[in-house]
């Protein structure tokens, strides 16, 4: 024992031993992200508890039982290399910009000057979108909690936070419009549209159904490859374009800014898809199979996009559907994936 102990000596390390032979100095992002999931030790239960407790059964069933094959989940990297520090710095800048917009356009009487059709678009689509964002927030947090690697989990954490940003900005604009336009804005109310407007229903259905996908790979696909990219295109990107076309520049600019978050989410999502496809030859088929299983939901969302965003002076409904469908296909195609057929 003393012999063992006496061999102890002070010797510095250059970086975490967990990197093994990295062959270079790790980045700050890697230093604070690497190998921070302790529940994936080979041969051990995920949690330091008996095999029959809820947490272990859940992780074994819904994470470890998935069909994606990945030899080393810690090899994935977020192309944006987001850390907590870079996230709050970047988002503070974005929020400062948006705050400036809100102040400037309020002084210019933006909301008083909105046409009926512009106000209708905001009342029918922008205001109820906070329910959608809350759904995406729940879905994103689930992607985090079962993620097999901290590199993936942390991306989902920031995506979750992005959704709360969107919820609060939608609530802010809704409140402003209510104060300026009164009953024109409050009747019949955002929740009514979200629950009853036929154009919203396919989106609500997709969110509700997605919330029942507990296997991690299916949850990732239905959230990050189907529901979020499609609804981001429709209710952020296209809505912004429609808002601009009908003379609601404040909302157009806010939505353009929110779309930066959507694009960051898409960058890590498709970097992960690319990583998965490269990790094992069977993974592409698994992803495609999952995508296909959500085909009906996706088609519903796409088909309703035109009706949801229809407004005189804006892009015509069919053109909206085509724009969104082609943008979505363009995301999937480079990875050998196709939008669900049928």
């Amino acid at each position: 024992m003393t012999e063992l102990a006496s061999r102890s000596r002070r010797r510095g390390l250059k970086t975490w031993s967990a990197f093994g032979d990295l062959g270079r100095r790790p980045s700050d992002y890697e230093i604070v992200t690497h190998h921070m999931n302790h529940t994936t030790r080979p041969g051990e239960q995920p949690l330091e508890m008996g095999p029959h407790v809820r947490g272990n059964v859940w992780l074994r069933t819904h994470r470890d039982g998935m069909r994606l094959v990945v030899p080393d989940w810690d090899a994935f990297r977020d192309p944006d290399a987001v850390t907590y520090s870079t996230y709050v710095t970047a988002q503070d800048d974005q929020e400062t910009y948006v705050e400036g917009l809100l102040e400037r356009f309020d002084e210019a009487g933006h909301d008083e000057g909105l046409s009926d059709s512009a106000l209708g678009l905001l009342r029918r689509v922008l205001a109820p979108s906070r329910f959608l964002a809350h759904g995406l927030q729940m879905l994103s947090s689930y992607v985090q909690q079962l993620a097999p690697s901290s590199y993936v989990g942390n991306c989902a954490t920031f995506q979750t936070a992005d959704q709360l940003r969107r919820v609060q900005l939608a609530a802010y604009r809704t409140t402003q419009l209510r104060l300026t336009r009164g009953t024109e804005m409050t009747e019949p109310g955002e929740r009514w549209y979200w629950e009853n407007d036929p154009a919203w229903q396919p989106i609500r259905k997709a969110v509700e159904r997605a919330l029942l996908e507990f296997d991690w790979d299916r949850a990732f696909v239905v959230t990050n490859l189907v529901t979020k990219p499609l609804t981001d295109l429709i209710t952020v990107e296209r809505l912004g374009a429609q808002a601009e076309a009908v003379g609601a520049p404040l909302d157009a600019l806010i939505l353009q800014n929110l779309y930066l978050d959507c694009r960051r989410s898409r960058r890590w999502t498709f970097a992960l898809v690319s990583f998965l496809v490269a990790a094992d030859p069977g993974n592409r088929a698994v992803l495609q199979e999952h995508l296909d299983s959500f085909g009906e939901l996706a088609r519903g969302v796409l088909d309703a996009a035109g009706r949801l965003l229809e407004v005189s002076g804006g892009q015509p409904p069919q053109a909206i559907v085509d724009t969104v469908r082609s943008a979505w296909c363009d995301m999937l195609a480079p990875h050998g994936l196709t939008a669900p057929r049928g």
């Binding site: 063992l4 390390l13 190998h35 947090s141 985090q144 919820v167 509700e208």
Partner: protein
């Protein structure tokens, strides 16, 4: 003009809708929400204990990040760390190895709130919790990584939870349970209310004060900055407790009583030795017992009273344990020092012993003679006699060594039989934790159970050390190379 937060905040949390395409009970299964018998509309009364907007959050946190970084940069240039007392370093190793991964786990716990909590108000607050905990894990990692060049033990900040080291497994067994296995309600009571709002106050405030006194301004600053976040998000436990007290007070009482005892045992292991033995004598502010009495006992009693809960049934035994349990734990940890990934300070030089006698009037009677024997062995050049030859028996609830949990040398056997297996405990209180919820602890072998089952080969201490991931470059040894024992020769 910009709106005030309170103008729009209500709308931002008005997010409930009526599910019509799926069954809401499947979306929010009771097994994760923890809603249990609480009626669905009761959660309408759940009120955020604080309000924060995303806009304010990123602005304030960006400033805080800048502040921590600025101090860190200035100090790393000044080489402050290399000048610190080596015993103080043990606190840093222990704290970082024992809690950095817990911060990362807490992201997932908060994420569970975001997904499954029974009200959107709570689900929204969970987002800030996720971000906060990401910050804490990353601050710890960045801080420790910077120090790898001076000490490889900081590698255990990241590595510890990927090993089988016995103390880390005990920490993991507790936090895996209350953070990652618990439903939202239980996690809020056990983690937010009991651990974060109670015990981490002490861990962070006390360690920050000690670190500052020891000259480790960088770490002190980091701990204090983390504490400002903890103090905010720990409040999530209160509204949950308020709802539960209306509808299911027995569940609240039991969850809190179990969590309080398990936290006590863990902090007797992590914080007790750090405060009363590793912190250099001249820099000690309060003893562990004093801190427990002021920060935990008063605080916990007040919360219990405010919400109409009873004191835990074991309260008197808990108070009694404050006098001795962490001294037993310290003695055991020092004795088993080759199984640690840091160098513990024995902390019993003549001067330190005088401090211990003053703070703990029975210390000399209870522990003095054991240390006297250790001192005699060291002075006789027989260090091997101060080292272990076997492994201790571990408790099936706390996974900590059995012996001395409530009083020194209390070796009465506490065991239960469940489904044909015998489980052993460090105290009658841990036995109670098991008996009220045996499925939670059953079929989970301790390190020693695994050793006896032949999972660890070769079946000797070096085999166990290798299995625990203890390598020669981090293996624990007396931090002052027994200089304190030699002081007695001249005394």
């Amino acid at each position: 003009m910009l709106l005030n937060r309170d103008d729009w905040y209500e709308t931002s949390r008005d997010l409930d809708w009526t599910f019509s395409y799926v069954d809401p009970n499947e979306v929010f299964p009771a097994s994760w929400s923890g809603a249990g018998d609480v009626p669905a509309d009761a959660w309408q009364d759940w009120e955020e204990p604080f309000r924060v907007s995303y806009r304010d959050y990123v602005r304030i946190q960006r400033e805080k990040e800048g502040g921590v970084k600025a101090v860190g940069n200035a100090l790393s240039r000044a080489g402050v760390f290399e000048k610190l007392d080596p015993a103080h370093l043990a606190s840093a190793h222990l704290h970082l190895g024992g809690t950095c991964m817990v911060e990362q786990m807490a992201i997932t716990m908060q994420s569970r709130f975001c997904r499954f909590a029974p009200t959107p108000k709570w689900r929204n607050l969970g987002v800030f919790g996720m971000l906060d905990e990401t910050r804490h894990a990353q601050l710890d990692l960045r801080f420790a990584h910077e120090l790898l060049k001076v000490d490889p033990r900081f590698d255990w900040t990241l590595k510890a939870f990927h090993t089988n080291e016995w103390g880390i497994r005990a920490v993991k067994a507790f936090f895996d349970d209350i953070m990652l296995n618990a439903d939202c309600v239980e996690a809020a009571l056990a983690v937010s209310l009991t651990v974060e709002h109670g015990f981490t106050n002490m861990q962070f405030v006390a360690l920050a004060a000690d670190a500052m006194a020891a000259g480790d301004i960088n770490w002190s600053n980091l701990l204090s900055s983390i504490q400002t976040d903890e103090a905010r998000h720990a409040q999530q436990g209160f509204p949950t407790l308020a709802v539960l007290m209306e509808h299911d007070p027995e569940r609240a009482q039991q969850a809190i009583d179990v969590a309080f005892w398990r936290s006590t045992r863990l902090f007797q292991t992590l914080t007790g030795p750090a405060m009363d033995y590793y912190t250099p004598l001249e820099q000690r502010k309060m003893s562990f017992k004093e801190f427990m009495l002021e920060w935990i006992v008063n605080h916990h009693e007040r919360i219990l009273e405010d919400y109409g809960l009873k004191k835990p049934w074991y309260w008197d035994d808990f108070l009694r344990s404050l006098e001795t349990a962490h001294h037993s734990m310290h003695l055991g940890m020092w004795w088993y020092r080759p199984t640690l990934f840091f160098k513990p300070n024995a902390g019993v030089s003549p001067a330190e012993r005088e401090w211990l006698r003053e703070k703990y009037p029975t210390w000399e009677r209870d522990f003095g003679y054991i240390w006297d024997q250790i001192i005699a062995n060291v002075q006789a050049g027989d260090v091997p006699a101060t080292l272990p030859e076997t492994l201790p028996v571990l408790c099936n609830v706390t996974h900590l060594p059995i012996g001395g949990a409530c009083a020194p040398h209390e070796l009465a056997e506490h065991k239960s039989e469940y489904k044909g297996k015998v489980y052993r405990f460090d105290s009658h209180i841990s036995k109670w934790c098991f008996d009220v919820d045996p499925e939670r602890y059953a079929d989970h072998p301790t390190v020693v159970d695994r050793f006896l089952a032949g999972d660890i080969q070769p079946m000797d201490l070096p085999g166990a050390l290798a299995w625990m991931g203890i390598t020669p470059d981090v293996m624990g040894d007396d931090v002052y190379d027994y200089a304190w024992a030699r002081e007695y020769v001249n005394a």
